[in-house]
Every structure is written in C-alpha cells, then in structure tokens.
Symmetry: C2
C-alpha cells in the first residue's frame, strides 16, 4: 500500500523547530516503524544529504541537502520572497500573526510567517504541517482546490486536534460549502485551543487553489470589528499573492469577494 520512499520521507515530518534533533529509537517510536527500518531509511537519506547524523551524539537532524533544494526551488520560483512582504503588511494591518501555506502532498506546508508584535499573540512553529480539516487555511484550499483533493481528504479519517475539531466528513463538507459561498474560511479553535483563524485561498495560473494566506488571532480577542477588518485584509493579501505568483482568480470568485475587499 505505502511505498518505502513515502515511509522514509514521513520520518522527516517529525523534525520540528522544537525538536530539531532526534535519536533513532525516539524516531522509531513516534513513527511506529521498526527501529531497523528507520535506521536503514535514515542511512539512505543521509547518503543524499537530506538528513545528517551528529558524529558525537549520534542524533539525526535535517541535512544541508534541504537547504540546497530550497535554494534551487526558491531561485527558480521565488515564492517566499514574494509572499513575505505581503504577510508583513497583513500582520501590520490586523495587528495579529499572519502566515502563508502551500499544498504539499497530503497536507499544507507553512512556508512563511509574520508574527504579531503584541505580547499576547498566536505563535506558530516554523515549518509546521497544517492538516486540511482543522485549519482555516485548509478549508480555504479545500473549497477552491478542486474536487479531487476534497474527496481525498473527506475519505480519510479526520483526527480530533481539539474538542472543537470537525471529525465528521459530512460536517466538514458543509463547512467547505460555506467557505465556497463566502470566499474566505473561518475556524475557531479547531486546530489549537484559543486560536481563531481566517483564511483566503491563493490561486495558481490554472485557477485552482494552490495555497492559502491566513491570520491567526487569540480567540478571546476576536471581536466583530476585528473580524471585519481581518476578512478584508486577508482577502486583499490573498489576491496580492495570487497576482504575485502569476496566478489567476476564477471569475466567480473575483466577483464574490469584490464587495468585501474594502479598506485601503
């Protein structure tokens, strides 16, 4: 069912900002894969520089190869450099943390962020993988990313990240419909406690959503005024990023959000 390559690459998901170095046994435990298999996979990935092993502690971490690959991609398709300034203004306009993510296989990859300047803010782990079903960004992508993607996600089991997470396919489908009608998505504490998210889709040049831009606000601070302000700002940012990437908004979507994109 699942190829060894996928299994090996899934191991990389366990490296995070908080735990950038992991031991063999630890990694085997978390991934639920046999220790010997993990050892072989890490060895294979080390050969190509995707991971590297500390000589002394024997811990593994992401290798220099990922930097090289990112450079190749970013040089050819400068996404991050286009997105970052837009996120900065989005964060400034709303006063909250903004981030952008792109479709990356079976999940969303957070590729750029701008944290709020406030002391109390939503702080997210760099390079986190965001599930489609529990985040505002995910909803935005599901709503405008085509039926194939939506069906695939609906047919998977939806993990409950908090007590508010939608775990029923039918209800998730309903939320996607709402998102499609409104032109933006909204989620309250479905991925993390006390985090409210508002997101807008980003389109590629075929008119399909390829990612999303989102603003995360502490739930207790979210007011009606703040909400309206954020929706307009997020939609403008989404459009700006779509344009920056050479993407194309579907006509119906452009008409839909036009009245909402008030403000400067």
């Amino acid at each position: 069912m699942s190829s060894t390559v996928v299994k090996a690459l899934m191991l990389l998901e366990h490296f995070s900002e908080d735990e950038p170095e992991l031991g063999l046994s630890e990694l085997a435990r978390r991934s639920g894969v046999d220790k010997a298999a993990v050892h072989r996979m890490l060895g294979a990935m080390a050969e190509t520089g995707l991971v590297e092993q500390q000589a002394d502690s024997r811990l593994y971490r992401l290798g220099a190869g990922v930097l090289r690959l990112a450079r190749v991609r970013e040089t050819a398709f400068p996404i991050s450099s286009i997105v970052q300034p837009i996120l900065d203004t989005l964060s400034a306009e709303t006063g909250e943390t903004a981030h952008a993510s792109l479709i990356s296989g079976r999940a969303l990859a957070n590729i750029a962020t701008c944290e709020s300047k406030k002391g109390s803010r939503v702080s997210l782990i760099a390079g986190e993988v965001l599930p489609y079903h529990s985040t505002a960004s995910g909803l935005a992508v599901l709503a405008f990313g085509g039926d194939a993607l939506l069906q695939r996600v609906l047919s998977t089991s939806l993990e409950a990240k908090t007590r508010f997470t939608v775990t029923e396919a039918s209800e998730l489908g309903a939320r996607v419909d709402v998102t499609r009608e409104k032109g933006f998505s909204e989620s309250d504490q479905t991925n993390e406690e006390d985090v409210h998210g508002i997101a807008a889709p980003v389109f590629d040049r075929t008119g399909m959503a390829c990612g999303a831009v989102s603003v995360s606000t502490p739930s207790h601070r979210m007011t009606e005024v703040q909400r309206d302000l954020t929706i307009g700002a997020v939609l403008r940012a989404g459009s700006a990023i779509t344009d920056g990437l050479g993407g194309q908004r579907p006509r119906s979507y452009a008409d839909l959000i036009a009245p909402l994109m008030t403000g400067s």
Copy 2:
C-alpha cells in the same frame, strides 16, 4: 545494494536553477532509471510534497515541502543567515564571487553565494552539487574532514570535469596532503574552464571539517597579488564561519594559518 530511497532522492539532483522543471521521460533518461520506476518514485515524493507535478504541463518540479524543511532546519540551526554576511564581506574584500558549501551526503552542497560586482565574474548555479575531487572547496573538506571521508572519495571513480581534473586517486591524495600542509586549498580549472578557486575549511564543534568557504576568480585575472589577498581573506572568512557555527579549529590548524591571516 542501493536502496530505492537513495535512487528516488538522487532524482532530485537533476533539478537545477537552469532546469527547474523536468518531464518524466527526460528524468528517466538522465538518471538511467526505468520510466515506470521514475514515475512511481516521483509519485511517492509528491505525496509528501518533496516534488509537485504541474497540473497542465505534467512537468515535475521541487515541491513546497523542501521550503518547509529548509525553514525547520534554518530556524533550528541558522547557518545561512550566519554565513551570508561573511560571504558578502569576503566578496567585497576580494572583488570576486564567494560561496560556502556544506557536506551533504556524498558531495558538497552549495548553500550560499555572493557574486562579484564585476561584469566579468564567475557565476555559479544556485544549489549546485560540487564534487569533492574537482573543486577547491572539496579539497579543503577532504584535507580536514577525517580519513573515513577521504578514503571513501579516493575509492570512487573520479569523473573528469575538464582536461585539468585530477582523476588519479594517488595524485588527488597528494593534493590533499598539500592542502593539509598549507591550511587552504587551490584549484585551477579542475571543475570548470577558466575558473580558479581558493578555499578554506569550516569546522564543526568536534574539530572536523563540515564544509568550506571559497572564492572563485576567472583564471586569467588571477595574479600573485590577488592570490595573496584572496588567501588571507578566505582564511579569515573560514575562521569567522567556524566561530559563528560554534565550531572548533584543531590547534595545529589554528597555528598553521595564523601567519597567513594578515590584513584587517
């Protein structure tokens, strides 16, 4: 002998700044792997977001996953951000193109560059993979990266990149010895025509070389004066990077290069 994971990841080496998008057949041809196998491997890597397939043209390119991974690594171990300013001053001091690379599996990965401002300059492809045996950076790493690495490289077949490339293991060993005695490495047109390189090793905290910093000068422009200037600047840059990464120079090496690090 060779695992499927390695074979799959080797496919990624064929993506470059010049050719960021490749078709299935093209990739199969270059890698010498069966088309069907390449198809399955790319599919597997697409599942995890390491590559992505254009919906319309069906071409493959590096995916958003690599950006995410690079963010995780760079947040935890901010190498690029430490190296870049040092490269900038190195390039300013020498007037030529400077770059830094790290050990990445079986080769060196170029992770940061600063191009010369001159019209005639050495321009290198972003994210290029540098062979150990044909580059000044490679020599520097081989000389100070431990015997295990050196033996492994010496036992492989050395591809002739130009008519000056060293392809005999014995001669390469001799050049490594010279490098070890001098404290820096030098190569003239061994990797590319009309490119002269001078490189210094970068050490990790165990005192082993983990990478190198190098200045590439058009061969015809390399004079005695320029050479002395460059050697001092490269050695200073190497030391600065080693310090910035929390690395540790071996005592013997520090004594060796001390008299050469003249200038500011």
